[in-house]
């Protein structure tokens, strides 16, 4: 495979000069996200997220399997994010690149380890049968900030997805098809979104660090440090990943968490608005409320 092309000296100098004048190449403010677009597929649990030129397709599927023997009451939830040469020819199939490893690790930390999906609700018969929920993240086009976009994609898809309804009688489980019973949504406990910050220090004057949000590919290639904060809209930090790079002031970093909270609130509002629009589109003749076999949650 060819090696990824690094930005040329000219590009780099232009970028640095612009940054000194408080400008980004695409004219955005330092803390501004690119235009976010969220589309849903024909099937349930299929989303297509566009963040500028970054485009991520997420597909959720469910099947019945046996739970792990050491966790008999938990269902399975796996996220796969394999980058294909479609993303860019520099990714080789079946050989994970650093980008791919980081993406899957961060998604794993933010969504799985924070307990966004209630895996206990996926249990059908303890130790014997459970649902296995699988999220396939397909990166179609890579223009930076894959983690944030993938996180939005997976969470929106999980909220959009409906698993087939089941009933349990003693030891036997009946899985109803879509024609027999209206499928039920997944039980999601909270929605942690990721916000990635990129840091540039040596490019500007001494002792000052410039922080950018939602970096494009060029900005990602030129950055000297980055931190990903996984946070939900209630301000609960689920994970912070700062893997090397320039050292940061602790107080400044707390400021980043505050910025992340503001951004996550915006993203949450956007995703729920799009989900509502989609639900209205799917609600044929306003019968969805009656068709639903789901019990109202007591909270």
């Amino acid at each position: 495979m060819p090696r990824e092309v690094e930005p040329s000296l000219n590009e780099k100098q232009f970028f640095v000069k612009a940054l000194e004048e408080n400008l980004r190449i695409d004219g955005r403010a330092f803390d501004q996200y690119r235009e976010l677009d969220l589309e849903f597929g024909d099937e349930l649990g299929v989303t297509d997220v566009r963040l500028g030129k970054t485009r991520i397709h997420t597909h959720i599927t469910a099947e019945v399997t046996t739970p792990f023997p050491d966790r008999p009451f938990d269902g399975l939830f796996t996220i796969t994010s394999e980058l294909s040469p479609m993303t860019s020819p520099f990714f080789e199939p079946n050989r994970p690149s650093t980008t791919e490893i980081l993406l899957s690790r961060l998604l794993e930390k933010t969504l799985r380890r924070s307990g966004a999906l209630d895996t206990e609700s996926l249990c059908l018969i303890a130790g014997q049968k459970c649902w296995s929920i699988r999220a396939d993240v397909h990166v179609l086009s890579h223009d930076g900030n894959l983690v944030d976009a993938a996180c939005i994609g997976v969470l929106a898809a999980l909220q959009h997805f409906r698993k087939p309804d089941t009933s349990t009688e003693g030891e036997s489980v009946t899985v109803y098809t879509l024609a027999e019973r209206e499928p039920v949504p997944l039980s999601l406990l909270h929605f942690p979104y990721c916000v990635t910050f990129s840091y540039y220090s040596s490019t500007v004057e001494e002792g000052e660090t410039v922080t950018l949000l939602d970096a494009t590919l060029l900005e990602e290639q030129l950055r000297e440090g980055s931190a990903t904060i996984g946070i939900n809209r209630h301000g609960e930090v689920c994970q912070i990943a700062k893997l090397g790079g320039v050292p940061l002031d602790a107080v400044a970093f707390l400021g980043c968490v505050q910025i992340a909270l503001v951004k996550v609130k915006e993203i949450s509002v956007f995703v729920s608005k799009r989900l509502e629009e989609e639900a209205k589109k799917r609600d044929k003749g306003g019968l969805m409320a009656e068709l639903s076999a789901e019990n109202d949650r007591v909270s």
Binding site: S84, M86, S88, P89, D136, L140, H142, D143
Partner: protein, 251 residues
């Protein structure tokens, strides 16, 4: 779902790939990207021609033997039409990502996965072709493909081009045929039991779906007002629209 057999295509919509296309037909949607000619690994390098690498990725799950088999069919078909001798010791990489398969409301999703690999083959072939065209890859000829399901009813065999999922599952035999623009057979994959007479009928029907009925207007370009059902016209119209859009600045 909308009209099941209607085809639609979008060209050059991914910004990092050299060429890309999304093609939907028969409830299947495939996104294709082509990169090339690019540097090839030493072990894959061919001294006098370009190596072609086809990657088929399913919508859910990782690719298995089914995807590898589809890849080998696609690879040998695309080898015939790309001018591989123009690019010795390089690689042409075709990535095909399946994003949508027709859903079966009665059966679970697993059964669709397990059924024949042939159902998606025409969509994959057509996406690959459109992506190659979008990448401006020199081709010797373009092709079109069709899926035909044959149902036996006593002595009579009825043929359905581009059948629905139910039609496909209940068929006695299914066939995928690809024709070049001149009407020459490029690929024939069959599954199931059928007789030689059936095969002749299938060949004839596939030809009428894939290739324009009168060979006369191949030279003269496309006449839009003539809305024929064949795939060649579809490919031409898609490309014409794309070129017109790209050259809108040019008087």
């Amino acid at each position: 779902m909308t009209n099941a057999t209607a085809s639609s295509a979008i060209l050059s919509h991914l910004h990092r790939a050299d060429g890309s296309a999304t093609f939907s037909q028969n409830g299947y949607t495939v996104i294709g990207a082509v990169n090339g000619p690019i540097e090839v690994q030493r072990r894959d390098e061919l001294p006098v021609e370009a190596a072609i690498d086809v990657i088929v990725r399913p919508a859910a799950g990782v690719g298995g033997t089914r995807e590898r088999h589809l890849e080998s069919i696609l690879q040998s078909t695309l080898r015939q039409i790309i001018l591989i001798h123009n690019f010795p010791r390089t690689l042409i990489q075709v990535t095909l990502q399946i994003t949508n398969t027709p859903e079966d409301k009665v059966a679970g999703s697993k059964i669709v996965q397990a059924s024949s690999h042939l159902a998606i083959l025409p969509t994959l072939l057509q996406t690959a072709l459109l992506a190659l065209l979008s990448a401006s890859m020199p081709l010797s000829v373009i092709f079109t493909s069709v899926l035909i399901a044959a149902h036996k009813d006593g002595a009579i065999t009825s043929l359905t081009p581009n059948p629905s999922l139910v039609g496909f599952e209940s068929a006695d035999s299914v066939h995928v045929l690809a024709f070049t623009l001149e009407g020459k057979l490029l690929l024939a994959e069959s599954q199931g039991t059928f007789t030689l007479d059936d095969w002749d009928n299938i060949l004839e029907m596939a030809g009428s779906v894939c290739v324009p009925k009168d060979g006369a207007d191949i030279e003269g370009g496309v006449r839009i007002e003539e809305t024929k059902e064949d795939m060649t016209t579809f490919v031409k119209c898609t490309l014409e629209a794309k070129v017109a859009q790209d050259l809108h600045w040019y008087t």
